[in-house]
């Protein structure tokens, strides 16, 4: 009886939380004249909105830009963080503790504070309207470094010693032993960085002025100010941004949830 109430509460609440996205999905399949109707299921479902945003408004290109930026950023950020984490977890060297706390303290600084100087640097480098501008400034992922270092500390030293006796170089040890053993955390850091860059709207907005370099959210911002009344198209473009990351989440949620909670609680 009491449990029944909890189920009802949870189901209603879950519905409320997901409702905006369900409505977005249904609207993206409605012809524009139908976009404002209160009927959830489209009377005349159509793929026309998706065809139009891709054919007439280059969202296909924006989608590929988003994909390139998020994938390359996730790859390099995870690589750099793993390399650094290995020595923080398993090596002793002068300056180690100072550097680590310096890295961690940067997490206290609000992101907006970095925006203007980072823009200035990117501008001076002549990187405006390049993938580099969108990716490189965020490749030092301190949060990922922290997660990876914590994890690598728990790997047994004996494995590293054994490999060293067998004549393996440091880089081979990193590549053949540390990386495979850290796979779950590496997956976490990769996914979180991918998600961060997929959603890094403000930064992508300020470093792109050429339509060719827009990512999906930037394209959506521009589209919105030009076509306020094309609701179905706006929702189709939103779907293009939300559905891929939601699908990735559904298949890899363990990594997302564990990574985000572990980092938050320990950090």
């Amino acid at each position: 009886m009491k449990k029944g109430i909890l189920y009802i509460l949870l189901t209603v609440f879950t519905f409320i939380v997901l409702f905006p996205f369900l409505w977005m999905l249904s609207t993206s399949f409605k012809p524009n004249p139908e976009a404002l109707s209160l009927r959830f299921f489209p009377k005349h479902p159509t793929l026309e909105n998706f065809k139009r945003i891709i054919r007439d408004y280059s969202f296909g290109r924006y989608f590929i830009n988003s994909l390139i930026v998020a994938t390359s950023a996730a790859f390099f950020a995870t690589l750099f963080a793993s390399l650094a984490s290995y020595v923080f977890a398993k090596k002793e060297f002068p300056g180690k503790r100072v550097l680590f706390s310096l890295f961690l303290s940067s997490m206290m600084v609000p992101g907006l504070m970095f925006m203007i100087p980072q823009f200035a640097i990117v501008y001076r480098f002549g990187w405006i309207n390049t993938y580099r501008a969108m990716v490189v400034p965020h490749l030092a992922n301190v949060f990922g470094l922290f997660l990876l270092t914590q994890y690598m500390k728990t790997l047994p030293d004996s494995l590293i010693e054994a490999a060293r006796i067998d004549g393996a170089s440091e880089f081979q040890i990193f590549l053949k032993i540390i990386l495979p053993l850290s796979a779950p955390v590496i997956a976490t850091v990769f996914l979180l960085t991918f998600q961060f860059h997929w959603n890094n709207f403000l930064w992508q907005l300020i470093v792109t002025t050429s339509e060719k370099m827009y990512t999906v959210p930037v394209g959506l911002a521009m589209f919105r100010s030009a076509h306020e009344e094309l609701y179905s198209l706006k929702m189709a473009a939103s779907t293009l941004s939300i559905v891929p990351i939601a699908i990735i989440f559904l298949f890899t949620q363990r990594y997302f949830i564990e990574g985000l909670t572990r980092g938050a609680i320990k950090g």
Binding site: T14, M24, L99, F114, I121, N199
Partner: protein
């Protein structure tokens, strides 16, 4: 020696990016905040040293202080509501229920989505007079104006959207901590005649104190970094007239900073960002003090 060299080689890529794009900007922002753009064709070349002028101007900038108050208002609404919702969800999901993981994932999902895009979707739902939320509210007899275009309701409407988007994160944090509370403490409470409420009040809440504090701190930092939700949903509007001055009823500090940046008032924007840093640190410190006093 060779070992040190190898270690630094491993560190190099990360360290290099960190120094150029995270460490240097902290100092460079300060440098910029002492300058003013003179040549709009060459914004970073055509700068002139103005000393503390930007900071002095900021002290007397009514629009800045207004945005500061709006940000506090945003924090004061969204933090308690967010904590209440996510804590309640966590306590419910901590019961042995079927489909717990499915509920948890579904509620967590919106947290990982882009704030800006989610804001666009909510703007569509809230739009007046045809948005689905507006029309549903009207159908059940609630006469409302445009939720996002009326000064009184615009900010609370953004709060509702963002709390629903982000509550999954708080919920998961609370759930993880709830599972660490030893059963014996609840049993002891039961022996003393405590019911569900007493267990929450005398066992759960005191033990989760550090987490509540953490949520308040990240909430404040979040409020002072808030940008995309307002950019997407209100653009800072609608305007309100107080005395003989016009203010924007949802222009939070992050948005005001962006507006200055947009107009290439880079020095001034940098001085706002530095002020934000100190405000953040001060609030985090105050939050930690007040939590210590209330509970111990």
């Amino acid at each position: 020696m060779k070992d040190t060299l190898t270690s630094y080689l491993f560190l190099l890529p990360f360290l290099l990016i960190f120094l150029v794009f995270l460490a240097f900007p902290v100092f460079y922002a300060f440098y910029l905040s002492m300058h003013e753009v003179r040549d709009l064709a060459d914004v970073f070349g055509g700068m002139e040293w103005v000393g503390l002028k930007n900071y002095l101007k900021l002290m007397h900038d009514a629009r800045f202080w207004w945005s500061f108050l709006i940000t506090l208002y945003y924090a004061a609404l969204s933090i308690p509501l967010g904590i209440l919702v996510s804590f309640t969800l966590a306590v419910i999901l901590n019961q042995p229920l079927k489909f717990r993981n499915a509920y948890r994932s579904a509620i967590f999902l919106p947290y990982i989505l882009d704030v800006f895009v989610v804001g666009i979707v909510w703007t569509f739902l809230y739009s007046y007079p045809y948005g689905v939320i507006t029309r549903l509210l009207m159908k059940i007899g609630i006469k409302i104006p445009g939720l996002l275009s009326t000064p009184g309701t615009a900010l609370p409407s953004v709060v509702v959207a963002m709390v629903l988007k982000n509550c999954g994160f708080g919920m998961v944090l609370f759930l993880a901590s709830l599972q660490n509370i030893p059963r014996s403490l609840y049993e002891a409470c039961e022996v003393d005649g405590g019911g569900v409420w007493e267990k929450v009040r005398f066992v759960t809440i005191p033990l989760l104190k550090p987490l509540f504090l953490f949520m308040v701190i990240i909430g404040i930092i979040g409020a002072f970094s808030a940008f995309a939700e307002f950019y997407a949903m209100t653009g800072g509007g609608p305007a309100v007239i107080i005395g003989n001055k016009t203010f924007l009823s949802t222009e939070v500090t992050g948005l005001y900073l962006y507006r200055n940046f947009e107009q290439l008032k880079l020095g001034y924007a940098a001085s706002i960002s530095y002020t934000l840093l100190f405000i953040n640190l001060a609030f985090s410190y105050l939050a930690s003090l007040s939590m210590r006093r209330r509970f111990v």
